[in-house]
Subunit: 439 residues, 3 copies
């Protein structure tokens, strides 16, 4: 555990190494939408960020849905008639159909095959399969193994439980100076799969740690670590009165692969401030990136962007889910994710937060003509005290568009300049009493 989070005092490991170490530590745990794997995952995160762990009992109605029975598993295997284990949950928790009911019987090849899942096009890989809402048992294995199965009597054994219990999620509110919230949501329901979504969990936890150290935040930041779909639906149902506070939001997923660009899927609104800000900050970063329009398929942004909520919540990824061949297979493992990629993703997120925190509208105090910048040392050709970091064009843009109707982001977009340059110009102008903050 010591190596999990970067200790900035001792500086023993880099942030990139720490991001990767979190994934390494959480990788072996078998998670699902409910059960002890989720609890263990959240307890490990609690050692570093003050997560609250919430339990919602089986049977609770959440909008059109019902919290399902809780699933736990201890052991699972298939043996042939010689007693040889062909697959074992201990080798990979992907071997069991996630949410499989218990079974303990001997079956012939034909019946066995009805319960087996493989990937014929990727014959070396074990698929990740689930059956949350239909009670059945099953195993996943490589297609090569499947092809080797002969006529035989197979002993199938799954020591799982599916019964009344609860669904677990973790939540952390980092309070800022206003009640306006930024929502960071990431799903915790996948077993040993790294990019989808230990990468999202690790990046979210490190972002929380980073924000916890900030002395003064303008926004309050709400982190939720939830099972996909049922988790966000339940959270919305339980927190309906808080939803209006959410001014910006991001779902985090697939943030550790070596794909050479960031991908942002816009909110349903399409031109929400978060949509414009992410595009601005990715462009400013110099990293490659792609912006995609909202579609109602994906992760929990589907729920946050459902028509009654229509929240300004987008999805941040590197390579989008389903577009890397390792997706939902045993190849989405510790080799597939990369410390530097994780660090780049976290860095992009921090830049987006920087933009969210500092984006405001100002009123030019001298809106009639330009103010005399020279006498305040803000004009390049006359003053001697001008901070060379402050762009003269940025100063002119901020003055010209600070009519209360343009935010710094709007100004950056119209000026086609980096947000940070515009922000620094606004800081200098505010310090010179040339700008007032809009209400």
């Amino acid at each position: 555990m010591e190596k999990m989070f970067k200790d900035e005092t001792l500086n023993e490991i880099t942030e990139a190494e720490s991001l990767y170490a979190t994934i390494e530590e959480l990788y072996p745990i078998c998670r699902s939408i409910t059960g002890d794997g989720v609890r263990e995952t959240l307890q490990i995160l609690q050692q570093h960020i003050p997560l609250e762990i919430h339990e919602l009992p089986t049977g609770t109605e959440v909008f059109d849905w019902t919290i399902p029975k809780e699933w736990n598993i201890k052991e699972a295997w298939i043996k042939n008639s010689n007693g040889e284990k062909l697959v074992d949950f201990r080798w990979s928790n992907l071997h069991v159909l996630n949410y499989s009911i218990p079974v303990d019987k001997v079956v012939g090849l034909k019946e066995l095959k009805e319960h087996l899942y493989t990937l014929p096009d990727q014959p070396d890989l074990i698929p990740h399969k689930t059956s949350y809402y239909k009670e059945q048992w099953g195993f996943c294995l490589t297609h090569n193994q499947f092809m080797d199965l002969d006529e035989d009597n197979y002993h199938v054994f799954i020591d799982s439980t599916l019964k009344e219990g609860s669904m677990t999620h973790g939540e952390l509110l980092i309070e800022g100076t206003t009640a306006d919230e930024v929502l960071i949501s990431t799903h915790i329901c996948h077993p040993s799969l790294c990019n989808d979504n230990l990468s999202g969990i690790s990046v979210a936890a490190h972002l929380a740690q980073y924000l916890l150290k900030k002395k003064e935040l303008r926004y309050s930041y709400r982190f939720i670590f939830i099972p996909a779909t049922i988790g966000s639906i339940a959270w919305l149902a339980q927190n309906e009165e808080k939803v209006d506070r959410i001014k910006h939001g991001l779902v985090l997923s697939c943030l550790g692969d070596r794909g050479d660009q960031m991908t942002y899927k816009k909110s349903r609104q399409g031109n929400a401030p978060i949509d414009k800000m992410v595009e601005q900050m990715l462009a400013d970063s110099g990293q490659a990136y792609e912006i995609r329009d909202f579609i109602p398929y994906g992760y929990d942004e589907r729920q946050f962007c459902s028509p009654a909520f229509d929240l300004p919540v987008g999805l941040l990824m590197r390579t989008p889910f389903g577009e890397f061949p390792e997706y939902h297979t045993s190849a989405d493992n510790l080799d597939f994710v990369d410390a530097d990629a994780l660090a780049k993703s976290l860095s992009a997120l921090k830049q987006i937060i920087y933009g969210i925190e500092y984006n405001r509208s100002y009123q030019n105090v001298n809106p009639k003509g330009e103010p005399n910048l020279g006498k305040r040392g803000l004009y390049k050709l006359t003053g001697g005290k001008t901070d060379v970091e402050i762009s003269q064009m940025a100063i002119l843009w901020v003055l010209n568009l600070s009519d209360g109707k343009h935010s710094l982001l709007d100004i950056a977009r119209r000026a086609n300049m980096p947000f940070q340059a515009i922000k620094q110009a606004a800081d200098a102008l505010e310090q010179a009493n040339l700008l007032n903050r809009s209400a």
Copy 2:
């Protein structure tokens, strides 16, 4: 007459053959903006669809215009001094300047030439020329014939009448469950010219026949068969109080040529529902198509789109008028139009009507998060009853955008999916009580 319309019971001829047969039957008749040729044309159509024939007397004021005298013609020819006929109305009714006053005299070559119309660039073709609003006599002939004319005494004879009478048009209202109307307008004033506009007449008549067989139509469909310009102006003047009922409209013309694409000219509004629907349905059809912006030159959409009416009426064609060399010449004949092209045009129209009929807005009954599709057999991975024809993405789009503000057409456009796929998803969701129709 038996072969004119497709008899679906006996199925003796295809719809394509029937569309062509209508043109064949109407081709020999000499039509103009008034007169017995129009009446005969409408009476033939009456044998298949219950057209009402309306007469408006000469001299009636219609907005800035006046219904002209009625024109009829029996015979017309030019003979040389040997008594040989050089042109004869019986050979082609294009030989007479349409609306020519009567004449019976002998003239020299010089005077004759002042009354002759030819196409020097298409020397084998007879032009179609009219003189509705200036009283004069004249003949049209091929330029080759014209070049052969020698100094001689020519006997010119036109047995026509131009006198008080009436202007005739045909009208059919197919009543739907609402008083909201779809207007289908086509011009009937051209003599023996096939694409312009027996094609429009035939397609409109077949569309009417198709709709008459429908048990329940949402819209009322008003078909008007009118002379161009004066006909639509007169119709608007006589029906001013009905104009507000028109929610969508199409002018039909040039629908039988072998041009490889459909052309739609948008209404003056430019983004009326009909404009978006035609584009969507042409795109969905897989046929090539072109969308053009409104210009105030063309057919009767000019009048429907005049500023005081500004109706949502576009113009549907294959190759646009004036852009095929046969336009307004004797080459726009029975060889120029094609049964399959007519059938394709009618098919496109039916698709557009399908879109108009089924386009509505819905309210998602469970707008907070997604509804649980699995328990209703609407989720691909869990249910066993899912109709494979229903696209999962279409279901998600319809749910996500059914907030009362998006029609199915809006959803299809945003989802970039066929209208029909969206409509089928909406049907399935409505059946599952997940959607309500918006008021």
Copy 3:
């Protein structure tokens, strides 16, 4: 002086020659933001247009600024220890740092160099440098001369004054039939530099002369000849109550170079009528042109477009300031500007004024259907009196869009036709009593 302005009676010189002659006459004068050079310049212009000369005393507060001391200069030179003049204000008034304080002393090479300005990348040219708001002395010279300076005692002498006085500007209001104003602004603060901005001064003066001869103008035209920045700020401060009258405005600058296109920088509004009109008229002219978005850097449009005013004022140039290598150097001389280029710029301006004067909205008197053009001789195929200059399409467009919501400019843009063709169609329709002017 006789040759300065074109005399249309005698027609002794062309307008192009006259435009150039004005520049030739004003070139030798040493101008700055204040002082006798400006007064002399304006007095010369007064001989041809009835300019009012205004003086604003040193120390007057104008918004955030204060009118500076007045600067005048008689003589300035550097001599080496042999008494040889190395630079002399008489050779080029660029040799003195504009607004230099007086000096008369002997300095060593090291101290001298602290007061010298050169262009190392353009070693043959003298730069134009100013120090309006910091009191210092200095000289400008070619970099070649600078490199030749040896260790020596140099006598530096500047016989200038910087003391209480006033800032001068010229103003001319040509009254039209309405109080709505078109503002034409050009800066007069540059010494012997031709394109920037004797070209703007000459073109503005000739435009004023042209408009003074017009019998009836719809708009009132206000010409202001002002020092850059402080001049426009002062004018706005002194005329704040008049600002609302300005419906359109242009800043004129750099209008005499041989660059092959006109450049228009849009107002801050971006889609003001002046922005659309300039684009339309430049397109119609057949000349090459470029339209640029507003940026808050440039000439006096910065002040007119400051947020509290946000006036519809753009900037018209040939090659933009800073984009020709001669900019702000001794190479921006009489050879650099061209009589034909000046004439083309003036011609473009006259076209823009034409558009501004004649752009209106009309109401179609017969908005229900098209009016009967034939009976009024306005339909090509029937009437005999149609003026062939009038485009039939233009007539149809004007009728179709004259609903009081579209100006002629809007119609020209939608029809993609020249403004003049649309205007001529409107004239013909108005004469035929088919259009009324909108209020």
